[in-house]
Subunit: 361 residues, 2 copies
């Protein structure tokens, strides 16, 4: 497999991105890494690290799409950017999967415009790895690409997420859950009730494991492997996990250093704190797949460091090797109720994506 | 002030409810508590506890609305229930505020049907106290009464929440934040963009402090005093806080008892764990106001114990004494864009409310 890597995307590009690529190059075996970016800059960064040149190549791209750029316009206005060149490379078969830590909105919009949607998928989605405390990881979909969804969008998210979780996370029969205000069938808005019906019916046809409605309270404990919701709710779930987690850690630090007894106790526990913190470390999880477009594409966290890049490259290879895109294409063609609605504008997909640096269309 | 208390609502009714009323009766001074429920049963429970009879009276109500009852139908079908009798008592001026741990959907629906909405408020909302780690409490509105909202609904939630937080929580110039996918103006769906505009404009007119868009990540750290969102998102925020909080506590327990060193450390910290747990204890916060109806009504957690009732009674008195309903009525009459939309059916308000025992319309 050949991984096309956006060398200029993200807060720590190009240094950390190239460093990660160099490290990965010594471990990818027969696989290759192709870095897209300003050739001179990339070469200079590469020269700072031990790497296996045999596994690394470069595609020259003088322009850069910044985090603050308008997601969709930037794709049109910067044809020589590392992001556009990289997406085109997977479209043209130069590589098998594209990996970028750049502007999320531009990446999703660019994928739709340059790669196009899988037939019958009208809204591609971002699937975000969600750390299940002490029990591995689930996939939350949509993580922010579509803030408003229709029932068939959520159905599509469930199907795509299940295939990805099964292939890349190695889950057997991933449990698909629909985020709702209660677990009983018939809960929530008319949109969610219809989504439930569609998912229930399609799961039967495709042999997927739909566990029904789930409450947000049960998400962190790992009640399912694929967490289905619209992009706004997905954003709230991810941000609440981060916010509550960090607040508690902060509070523990404070409380645990009030008084000598607590301080001693805390000192004895430092190692355990480390283990706990590790669970909230996005660099562990290898990036978020953009599902519903015709090629494998992975979005890495905007502040990805070399370690995140190494993990991202590994997961990207599994994503491409597993034939996730092909399986999704086959599955969606087998269920009804998936016809795209009127709104076929690729841009829309990008509008609501939160990108780390705040760019919006 | 006279607090009308639903003696039969909630998982621990009537025992814990009456016990709480008895305890409170010794501390409410000139205020009175009127318990609604089966007279014989209430008297029997009361006789088990020391109480100030001078401050306690009973309204006989032989019927009970169960948690599993249909929210709206039950209001019509059980005219002699403690909930209906209680709401009627505040409507008729027998008491000043109604407090219940019963079926949330029925309570909201009942308030709308029996008390009616404040002029220009078309969607009453549930305001839930949200514990800010180590920094007191904020008000989250809507906590689950309206899963789908229009911009003017969110504006109304912000105004009502600000008035309640200022009066009952004693916050000066409560900071009102709109939950969105990013903090920049112009983020989110068209509905949220319009909500932002409305809130920005109205805050100027009413002298309220609208801080703009907030991200879910910043909710737990107390970025604002009034957290405005639709009922679905509100439900997700509350449930995620509970879920992540409990998961981490559980994990800490596990990790901290792995090995002798950690176990000793944990033992030394037990007191601190207690303090931390206390922050997640809903019984501390005195219940959730139902805002937008013509009288003060407070919903207590379904599994409220005596302590929660004592706190609920205290907050209810502050709610009624503070003239929150009157201030809301005055304020909403002073801003435009608040005209009720076509959907004036009280039932709607109740449909999406999650009640602890799963009852839905």
């Amino acid at each position: 497999m050949k991984v096309i890597l956006d060398g200029m995307g993200g807060d720590n590009a190009p240094s950390e991105i190239v460093k990660g690529a160099a490290e990965a190059s010594n471990a990818v075996g027969e696989n290759e890494i192709c870095i897209v970016g300003d050739e001179k800059v990339i070469e200079e960064e590469l020269s700072k690290h031990i790497h296996s040149r045999r596994n690394i190549s470069i595609i020259h791209a003088p322009e850069v799409i910044e985090g603050g750029d308008s997601p969709v316009k930037s794709i049109r206005r910067k044809p020589n950017s590392s992001m556009v060149k990289g997406i085109e490379a997977v479209r043209d078969g130069v590589g098998d999967v594209f990996l970028s830590a750049g502007n999320s909105g531009a990446l999703v919009g660019g994928c739709v415009m340059i790669l196009g949607r899988i037939p019958n998928i009208d809204r591609p989605a971002i699937g975000s790895p969600y750390p299940i405390l002490d029990e591995g990881v689930a996939l939350l979909i949509d993580a922010g690409a579509n803030s408003e969804c229709k029932p068939h969008n959520l159905l599509q998210f469930g199907i795509m997420g299940s295939i990805y979780a099964g292939t890349v996370f190695g889950k057997e029969q991933p449990r698909i859950g629909l985020v709702n205000m209660g677990t009983e069938k018939g809960k929530g808005s008319p949109m969610l009730k219809e989504s439930y019906e569609l998912m229930d019916e399609a799961s039967g046809k495709l042999g997927l494991k739909f566990v029904g409605n789930i409450e947000a309270r049960d998400v962190p404990v790992g009640i399912c492997d694929v967490i289905v919701c619209d992009g706004f709710v997905g954003n709230v779930i991810l941000k609440m996990t981060e916010g509550v987690g960090l607040s508690i850690m902060h509070l523990l630090r404070e409380k645990f250093t009030e008084g000598i007894v607590a301080t001693i106790g805390a000192a004895l526990l430092m190692g355990k704190f480390g283990e706990l913190k590790k669970m909230f470390d996005y660099t562990e999880y290898g990036g978020a797949p953009i599902l519903g477009v015709t090629k494998p594409v992975v979005k890495m966290h905007g502040s990805s460091n070399a370690k995140a890049v190494v993990n991202g490259i590994a997961k990207s290879i599994a994503f491409a090797e597993g034939g996730v895109v092909e399986t999704i294409t086959d599955n969606v063609s087998r269920v009804s109720g998936l016809a795209p609605d009127e709104d076929n504008c690729g841009c829309r997909t990008g509008h609501d994506v939160r990108d780390e640096n705040g760019g919006t269309e």
